[in-house]
């Protein structure tokens, strides 16, 4: 089955009902996407499918056929969101971080706090208490937007 992962077309041979999460981690060796709960609750496995945030633990591989997938690896390491999470200490244990960043990515630059909270409502963090995460996302492109 053909799909595009982080801009590169790939051909993957995996069972159609295999979770996109496992296809990415096992077949594509992209282990940046994490499994927290495996039931759609925590958002750790969030990736973008054609630009839309989804929980990859709830997506059968067949439904990603032909789609363009973006994972945390696709951001390259120096993306403004990644830099801001480091600077603001938006990550502690780090298990939620790739999902947080992927959920924030569709927001674009300088989102309001309300928009950030909305976009991240499906992402759980057991460490930071969220404030540092919100701060990182809102300041990633320079000065924070007004609330």
């Amino acid at each position: 089955m053909r799909l595009t992962v982080n801009g590169t077309p790939v051909e993957v041979d995996a069972p159609p009902m295999k979770r996109l999460l496992d296809v990415l981690r096992e077949d594509c060796s992209l282990t940046g996407t994490k499994e927290g709960c495996g039931e759609g609750e925590c958002g750790a496995c969030t990736v973008l499918v054609d630009g839309v945030a989804v929980a990859s633990c709830l997506v059968p591989f067949a439904q990603a056929a032909g789609a363009s997938i973006t994972t945390i690896e696709g951001l390259g390491g120096n993306h403004p969101l990644q830099v801001a999470f480091m600077r603001e200490v938006g990550a502690q244990c780090g298990i939620c971080t790739p999902g947080m960043i992927m959920a924030a990515l569709p927001l674009g630059p300088k989102p309001s706090l309300a928009k950030v909270k909305d976009a991240l409502a499906g992402n759980l963090c057991r460490c930071t208490g969220y404030e540092a995460i919100y701060r990182a996302i809102r300041s990633a492109w320079g000065e924070q937007a007004p609330t």
């Binding site: 069972p15 159609p16 009902m17 295999k18 979770r19 495996g38 039931e39 759609g40 609750e41 958002g43 969030t46 839309v52 945030a53 989804v54 929980a55 633990c57 709830l58 997506v59 059968p60 067949a62 439904q63 959920a103 909305d118 976009a119 991240l120 409502a121 499906g122 992402n123």
Partner: protein, 281 residues
């Protein structure tokens, strides 16, 4: 334990006709829409079947359109599509309100209205809205073609409906709704929490009310509705409501709590939909 998924069969239909043929020839086929219910079951090790049918290639089933005043929302329309739709915002704001309360963004981007209806959980957030909007479920099968069932007679019991095993839900239809629309969900937190109690209401000369999570299926409240239509006080209506529902204790709430919340929701509906805010009830 998680289910081993590699042995499962998945059919990707080329057309609705093809999909309906599979439903007919393989009666145990499980349709897949956004998978936000099915994959939770798979990941929990309780697979609903071994043969699956992916509905997502049938893009026509995601359409939202209006014809002669009737709003039609395709079974595959996602919560995000519903929230964004100008038509739904104009004609059915209470459905938009319910859709906004489902899960987080990741669930809203994938979960569908048809999936919420077919899944038939008494805690489905859109179901009280469909009940007060007097929606019609449009079903289709290879054997019987298309048939329309009023939503209020769709469910027959806990997780049971009149849908035949070979039928697909293709759309939900909504006649124009007269009056002010209202929806409120009470849960442990705003996102991702299964509802403890939710209520939808329409305020007009014929008040309509429905509650979710207080019975085996979503319920309309004909006695409380009739009382309000006949000019009863809100205290009287709340008293009637308490005799009309018999919620149960479960892992999420007690019966007593649900009864108290249902009464409070009825008061909030009556207050929020009052024509003038000064008029006290």
């Amino acid at each position: 334990m998680r289910t081993a998924l590699s042995a499962f069969h998945l059919h990707r239909p080329r057309s609705l006709t093809d999909a309906l043929r599979v439903m007919r020839e393989e009666p145990a086929t499980v349709p897949l829409a956004g998978c936000t219910d099915v994959f939770v079951a798979l990941n929990a090790g309780t697979p609903p079947g071994t043969h699956y049918l992916d509905l997502t290639p049938l893009g026509g089933l995601a359409r939202i359109a209006e014809k002669d005043g009737v709003l039609s929302i395709g079974a595959l329309a996602t919560y995000t599509a519903i929230i964004k739709s100008r038509l739904v915002r104009q004609q059915l704001p209470m459905l938009v309100a319910a859709a906004r309360e489902v899960g987080g963004a990741q669930i809203q981007n994938r979960g569908t209205l048809g999936g919420n209806v077919a899944n038939a959980s008494p805690a489905g957030d859109t179901l009280p809205v469909l009940a007060v909007a007097e929606a019609v479920v449009v079903l289709r099968s290879a054997a019987d073609g298309e048939r329309r069932v009023p939503f209020t007679s769709f469910y027959t019991g806990y997780r049971a409906s009149v849908r035949h095993p070979d039928e697909l839900i293709v759309a939900l239809e909504f006649p124009p709704v007269e009056g002010k629309q209202w929806f409120r969900k009470v849960g442990t937190r705003a996102a991702q929490a299964i509802s403890k109690v939710m209520m939808a209401g329409v305020r007009s000369s014929r008040p309509r009310l429905a509650l979710g999570s207080v019975a085996a299926t979503v319920v309309r409240l004909p006695r409380a509705e009739a009382a309000l239509a006949g000019g009863a006080s809100i205290d009287e209506a709340v008293r009637i409501l308490s005799g009309e529902i018999t919620p149960i204790d479960d892992i999420r709430s007690t019966a007593e709590y649900r009864l108290a919340v249902a009464g409070n929701l009825l008061r909030a509906y009556w207050r929020d939909t009052a024509v003038t805010v000064l008029k006290s009830d």
